[in-house]
């Protein structure tokens, strides 16, 4: 088995901030917008270096999306930044019409996604944003797993022409992907090869999936781990190839099991190759206040939960 080393805990949003700062230096068309959450989104460096290319919108997310769409007319590549909830559910119709349907080159960058937002509680912990964004035709949906990957993805999406939703999070988590790995939109990463079960994980749960795979290996179970950083377009070929070997799958996401990655995988498999699947995600519930670790434990979103789900799904083959 491959060994993955945590090179030190870092928040994914800082990866976004670093990527954006890099773009500020390398791509003059990149502009950034924020709705009164500069610090949380780690946009300070970009702003300090490119004040004329930053738009402080105030607490008006709908206006932010519209302005971003307008800025593309004239050749700008706008990166909008706010919490995931206010990046998606708050402005769904605005994204739908002015960005997705109009095919504008807007990058919607969303921090504090999911339960790991922590103490602010349920009003801020969106667990539906992947589902919201994946339903929009033409929208690319990315959920990165660590600092390095978030930085790479931020840089990569500037070179892709079209609407992108980039989801990342608040807490410091293991940073384990190579700092120099190029980010390829839509290309799943096979992190661990295995034969008994496929784990398809995204975002913060990729690291948990790797821990689960280790735990399973100790029990003699060979788990394949796929980092599905891009939820749309989904790398169906990678998933089908893996399931062809393992004949069962566990999906893992920091998201409601209704509407998210898990259901995309279930649809893909039901269409092509039906197999037993277990769903790691929140079970149709709102979150609550607590520390990220407490919440991930309480709502069953960690390595232990993934391990159990793998054991269960294998029995269902």
């Amino acid at each position: 088995m491959k060994k993955y080393i945590d090179t030190g805990k870092k928040d994914t949003r800082s990866g976004f901030g670093a990527g954006l700062a890099h773009l500020g230096r390398t791509n003059k068309n990149v502009v950034a917008l924020c709705a009164d959450l500069i610090g949380s989104l780690k946009m300070d460096e970009f702003i300090a270096e490119n004040p004329e290319r930053f738009y402080q919108i105030g607490i008006a997310e709908a206006n932010m999306i519209g302005i971003a769409a307008g800025l593309t007319i004239g050749g700008k590549i706008p990166f909008t930044g706010t919490f995931a909830n206010f990046s998606t559910g708050r402005v769904y119709d605005q994204i739908r019409q002015s960005v997705a349907y109009s095919n504008k080159n807007v990058k919607i960058c969303a921090s504090h996604a999911g339960l790991t937002l922590g103490e602010d509680g349920a009003t801020h912990q969106i667990l539906e944003d992947i589902g919201l964004m994946k339903m929009l035709p033409g929208m690319v949906v990315i959920n990165t797993c660590d600092y390095n990957q978030t930085k790479a993805a931020t840089i990569a999406i500037a070179d892709y022409h079209g609407p992108v939703y980039l989801r990342f999070g608040r807490p410091a988590v293991a940073n384990f992907t190579p700092p120099d790995a190029p980010f390829e939109i839509g290309k799943a990463l096979l992190l661990q090869e295995g034969t008994d079960v496929t784990i398809v994980a995204t975002g913060h749960l990729v690291w948990e999936a790797l821990i689960a795979a280790d735990a399973l290996a100790e029990k003699g179970i060979s788990a394949e781990v796929i980092n599905i950083h891009t939820i749309k377009p989904l790398d169906e070929a990678a998933i089908l190839a893996s399931v062809a070997k393992t004949s069962c799958v566990v999906t893992a996401e920091e998201h409601n099991i209704l509407g998210g990655l898990g259901e995309s995988v279930a649809r893909t498999l039901a269409s092509k190759h039906p197999v037993p699947q277990e769903f790691i995600g929140t079970n149709d519930t709102f979150g609550e206040s607590g520390t990220p670790a407490q919440l991930m434990e309480k709502y069953g979103l960690n390595a232990a939960a993934i391990t159990k789900a793998c054991e269960k799904v294998i029995k269902r083959k």
Binding site: Y55, G58, G66, A69, L71, I73, G74, S102, N103
Partner: protein, 300 residues
Amino acid sequence: MCSPHKGLIFTAVKLPNKNMANITELNQLTTQVRRDILRMVHKVNSGHPGGSLGCAEFFVALYNEVMELKEGFDMDGKEEDLFFLSNGHISPVFYSVLARRGYFPVEELNTFRLINSRLQGHPTTHEGLPGIRMASGSLGQGMSVAIGAAQAKKLNKDAHLVYSLHGDGELQEGQNWEAIMYASAKKVDNLIATIDLNGQQIDGSTDHVLHMGDVAAKFKAFDWEVLSIEKGNDMEAVIEGLQKAKALSGKGKPVCVLMHTVMGNGVDFMMHTHAWHGKAPNDEQLANGLAQNAETLGDY
């Protein structure tokens, strides 16, 4: 009044001669546009004649007298004036004026709201219709978009202006007020937003549905430059108002034009009522409406 015209676009169509554009010619074009509107919505028995007819002078003036337009069409619209229609349901007037300005063949008006058409019920970029830079239809989004485009122009050191149109009922959407607050706070003074103050929306008059009080006072309280066009269906008044707005731009404030129009203007039985907001005339009504607007430049 005769601003330099940056030439025709795409196809040679029946346009008033740009170098001698005069009020009579613009009025003739307006009458033809009214015919187009009526025929378009009649053919598919759907669409929005009321607001379209009321804004005919505005569109004709904007595209044939007021805006500086480049030859051809590209999405970026650099070095030309831009226009965004926020109240997308009045697409018929937009399509007619774009077609007759040369953006696409006038005959294509025949495909309005039909399947596989570029002339969707509400304007869209999705089908590649020249002249359209943003989808609209879901109300309340256009001012934000226009602001973004205006700020891109500033960044690009492009001195051209951005125009937008909004319904009065549409102003009930809160996103407008986010945009209105932002535009003055950030001194977006290359934006001229016109409000179609026809006093009507779907369920009745705006007074009846949701009394909007003094709209001018609201924009002023939000630190905009505000001017009124009292006769929004008088070509000279519209042009004069828009030229005044132009003159007020670039002075640190966004400019709002409150344009008083009559919904359904030019077709007597459609005037002054919300009833024709989104209803097509039947055969008889069409004939009546066309009789009130005799062919000038040739039907499509």
